[in-house]
């Protein structure tokens, strides 16, 4: 690809996907995967705020052992709203909907996804589902917990279960459409020369995610419909008073919801591989192992759901198998961590915001993964199940893992998405504030959990208060860190420096060929791939946008 004339300072801004049409209609009816990615970004950013608001009230209430801010009923609705919104309307769409939509076609040299209309439909379906969720909130909220356990949800709960269930049900179809789109796109639209083993690892991760989405989501859809049927029509499925089986619900629910954890985290794995490779200036260590470990996790992830049910009266022999498989899935996860670590070895590591997030991810996800082993341990889970230990564990995976990876990816691709650089100083400070606040919030919860503090408790014995106060203090720091993102990222759209095509400089078609921001059809001509992914050894390393290490000598003075 020859350099465009964009480098000449006097030229008018090049036609790109953001400025070629600016009407509301051009956004709302867009078929452009990049614009749809941004629509998703705005939507999930909104829901992250709403879900975060719920978490803030929960943490405020837990400052004292007595319930003195919220009634028990409102408290239960707050943690339910936090969980439902963060999982169904933020975490699940964050990886595929935002970064997947924006980056994946660019990465594989395609003009768009395979089915652009389905892609737009997916956003509308998601927004419809989310609207049901919001309507449920406005009409009084729901108090079942995001897990909707029966028969509480199907018979006893006196809140908006049907609306919320419908919301999650509908939003599931948005995931399915995106997953379907990505699988076909990856199979059919790769640029000439881009063989499977030349694909960036983010694409592998999205492929694994999409498979889990396609196979798992229909099951939660059916399960939610069964709840609605029992609740609405009195059909006997889960409520034993009607002749149903309440544990059947847990099997069906976790058959989706455990793989859903991998729907949330696998895109994060893909992002981390991109970041660590780019900022170490090295090809990822053990490319094939990292790619296949994603596939192994996606596959084994379907057979571990019973580890949520060791004390639910499940057969001890079934529990044994689920425990075994849960330990087994730790192996491909460990393989990833080792490979990321080894990628740093003899690199030329550059500390930019995305890399700060990636290193933070390594530490937090490591803790999240190791504490998962505690919970896979049958004898120990008897004590830890349904305590704050579980809450701490999955926040380390979901927030410490996925949110850190997502923010790393967002900063990494921000120049490509918006054509503007964010502010390096602000961004690094924010990343550190989030890291510190996160640990202060959730580490005390491991201790609370082992002490026996059950989750979803509105009031609690006073001996737990010190740890709860620490956690709430951490949450205010964490919340402050997240709010900083909402200030400086939008601000950078207006006063951020213009981004060059490849500010890092990174490998990959989205950086080396597409402009920042890309043209409406991504590439002027179809790119041809002639090398493997992460071929950093043969790239120019000299130029780094925003090089805070400009003081670095051009050559090694010691040589």
């Amino acid at each position: 690809m020859s350099d465009s004339d964009a480098s000449s300072p006097s030229a008018a801004p090049a036609r790109n996907y953001l400025n070629f049409a600016t009407t509301a209609k051009s956004w709302l009816l867009t078929l452009d995967h990049k614009r749809i990615g941004l629509l998703y970004l705005i939507s999930i950013a909104f829901f992250f705020l709403v879900g975060g608001f719920g978490a803030s009230l929960v943490r405020l209430e837990l400052l004292t052992p007595d319930g003195n801010l919220l009634s028990a009923e409102s408290y239960n609705k707050m943690f339910t709203m936090h969980g439902v919104i963060m999982i169904f309307f933020f975490l699940i769409p964050a990886g595929p909907g935002v970064l997947g939509n924006f980056v994946l076609p660019l990465m594989i040299g395609a003009k768009d996804v395979a089915f652009p209309r389905l892609n737009l439909a997916s956003w509308y379906v998601y927004m419809t589902g989310a609207s049901f969720g919001v309507a449920a909130l406005i009409l009084g909220g729901v108090d079942t917990g995001w897990t909707f356990y029966t028969p509480y949800s199907s018979t006893y709960a006196n809140s908006q279960v049907i609306l919320t269930g419908l919301g999650a049900f509908i939003a599931g179809f948005a995931s399915i459409l995106t997953g379907l789109n990505f699988i076909v796109t990856i199979h059919k639209l790769r640029a000439p020369g881009l063989s499977w083993f030349r694909m960036p690892l983010f694409v592998w991760a999205m492929y694994a995610t999409s498979i889990v989405v396609m196979l798992g989501t229909p099951v939660i859809a059916i399960t939610l419909v069964l709840i609605l049927l029992e609740r609405g029509l009195g059909l006997a499925i889960f409520d034993p008073a009607l002749g149903g089986d309440p544990v059947l619900f847990q099997h069906l629910f976790w058959f989706y919801s455990h793989p859903a954890v991998y729907i949330m985290i696998l895109p994060g794995f893909g992002i981390i591989s991109e970041l660590i490779s780019c900022f170490s200036r090295k090809r990822i260590f053990g490319y094939g192992f990292v790619a296949f470990s994603s596939m192994a996790i996606a596959l084994i992830g379907f057979f571990v759901w019973g580890h949520h049910m060791f004390v639910s009266s499940q057969s001890v022999y079934a529990g044994l198998i689920f425990s075994f498989l849960s330990f087994l899935i730790a192996v491909p996860t460990a393989v990833k961590i080792f490979n990321w670590t080894a990628t740093l070895y003899k690199g030329a590591i550059v500390f930019r915001t995305p890399m700060i997030y990636a290193l933070g991810f390594l530490g937090l996800f490591l803790i999240g993964g190791l504490t998962g082993l505690f919970l896979s341990s049958m004898g120990l889970d008897v004590h830890l199940h349904d305590t704050y230990f579980v809450v701490a564990h999955f926040h380390y995976v979901m927030v410490g893992g996925m949110v850190m990876a997502f923010l790393g990816g967002l900063h990494f691709w921000w120049p490509k998405m918006t054509g503007r650089m964010y502010f390096q100083g602000w961004a690094i400070v924010t990343a550190i504030v989030i890291f510190v606040g996160f640990n202060l919030t959730f580490f005390p919860q491991f201790l609370l959990g082992y002490l026996g503090m059950p989750r979803r408790y509105h009031v609690y014995p006073s001996e737990f208060q010190i740890l709860h106060v620490l956690s709430s203090a951490g949450a205010s720091i964490l919340g402050g860190g997240f709010l900083m993102l909402y200030i400086y990222l939008p601000l950078s759209l207006f006063i951020g420096r213009k981004a060059p095509r490849n500010p890092w400089p990174a490998t990959g078609l989205e950086w080396e060929v597409a402009e920042s921001p890309p043209s409406p059809h991504n590439f002027e001509t179809t790119p041809v791939v002639t090398e493997e992914a992460y071929n950093y050894a043969h790239k120019d390393h000299a130029f780094f946008e925003q090089d805070i290490v400009d003081i670095l000598p051009e050559e090694d003075e010691n040589v």
Binding site: T144, Y152, V247, S323, F327, A348, L366, D386, P454, L552
Partner: protein, 323 residues
């Protein structure tokens, strides 16, 4: 119960002591990996930071040997943890035969407990130290979970069936009793204390508890005796009294044995089987009998069901007389 700040819960059962050993192993193992990987990452990050602008890193693609090593080592470690934890769990799965049985009914938002001599309490449990205690539990509404952190013991309590757990308290004192499965508005208030007493204190407590409760005669009726009265009052005895040619089978010697059903399958006559046969008699028809028993659903509550089960259990160990 003191309100002092602590980092570890009290160790008040033999199972708790064993769980803690495994927990500390897991903690040390985790600390090892976090420190080891953290140290390597930190070392690499400093040692291999970019020092000059045109620095070229080494070209390394991977190493099959290393991949094998860091696949096998975590696998072996994971299997070790798996077996250890499964062993703990299986040891604890079966209550010892001499365990004292406490009947537990969960209900939004309280625990009802009944001692072998019929003494009842709500949201508190008094037990003697050193005595294995097994709980037979059911719920009248939604799913609850009976959780005593000091014993490291928890089991879900389900509507429509019996679940069990057990423990041997090793330390006197008062320990938290929680509901661990979210069960609605007052979930966090569904609990109280387990008071572990010396055997003498326990006997004294039983005396005062039964006289203080008023209506002493009823309260003192053991679950099996109460069940026997129900057995007569509800008319069960008419068909299941063991008379020759009766419409239903005698229940003497039934409990804990395999019995043959009309379709030829065998079924174990346990608590759940008896409960189901009272509520849904058409589900399992004993071989040689007609499906004529009416359902008692709605006529007996969960406490009475447990008493009937206790009575049928008590005659289950008797020798079969006439046949």
């Amino acid at each position: 119960m003191t309100n002092e700040f602590r980092l570890m819960p009290p160790v008040a059962s033999d199972f708790a002591a064993r769980v803690d050993v495994f927990y500390w192993f897991m903690v040390l193992m985790s600390v090892f990996w976090v420190v080891a990987i953290g140290a390597v990452v930190a070392y690499f990050a400093i040692r291999y930071r970019r020092r000059y602008r045109t620095q070229r890193p080494d070209e390394i693609h991977g190493s099959n040997r290393l991949e094998a090593a860091w696949t096998v080592v975590p696998f072996v470690l994971a299997m070790m943890m798996f077996f250890w934890a499964a062993h703990l769990f299986f040891d604890y799965a079966q209550a010892p035969a001499d365990a004292m049985e406490i009947l537990v009914t969960g209900k939004q938002w309280m625990w009802r407990l009944q001692h072998p001599d019929g003494t009842r309490e709500i949201n508190t449990l008094h037990i003697p130290v050193g005595q294995p205690v097994k709980l037979t539990m059911t719920s009248e509404d939604v799913i609850h979970s009976f959780y005593i952190p000091a014993f490291r013991v928890k089991a879900d309590v389900l509507p429509g069936r019996y679940t069990r757990t057990w423990f041997t308290p090793t330390k006197t004192g008062s320990f938290h009793l929680f509901c661990a499965e979210y069960c609605g508005t007052e979930h966090s208030r569904m609990g109280g204390f387990v008071h572990v007493l010396t055997p003498r204190e326990y006997d004294e407590w039983l005396q005062t508890a039964s006289t203080a409760g008023g209506g002493a005669a009823v309260a003192r009726l053991s679950p099996a005796d109460a069940g026997e009265r129900l057995f007569t009052r509800l008319g069960c005895v008419t068909c299941h009294g063991g008379a020759a040619g009766a419409l239903g089978p005698s229940l003497v010697g039934l409990f804990g044995r395999e019995r043959e059903l009309a379709d030829g399958t065998m079924i174990l006559a346990d608590e759940d089987y008896i409960r189901q046969s009272i509520l849904y008699p058409q589900r399992h028809i004993a071989k040689g009998y007609q499906p004529v028993m009416p359902s008692f659903e709605g006529q007996v509550n969960e406490t009475q069901l447990m008493q009937l089960v206790a009575y049928i259990k008590s005659i289950g160990s008797q020798k079969i007389g006439m046949d």
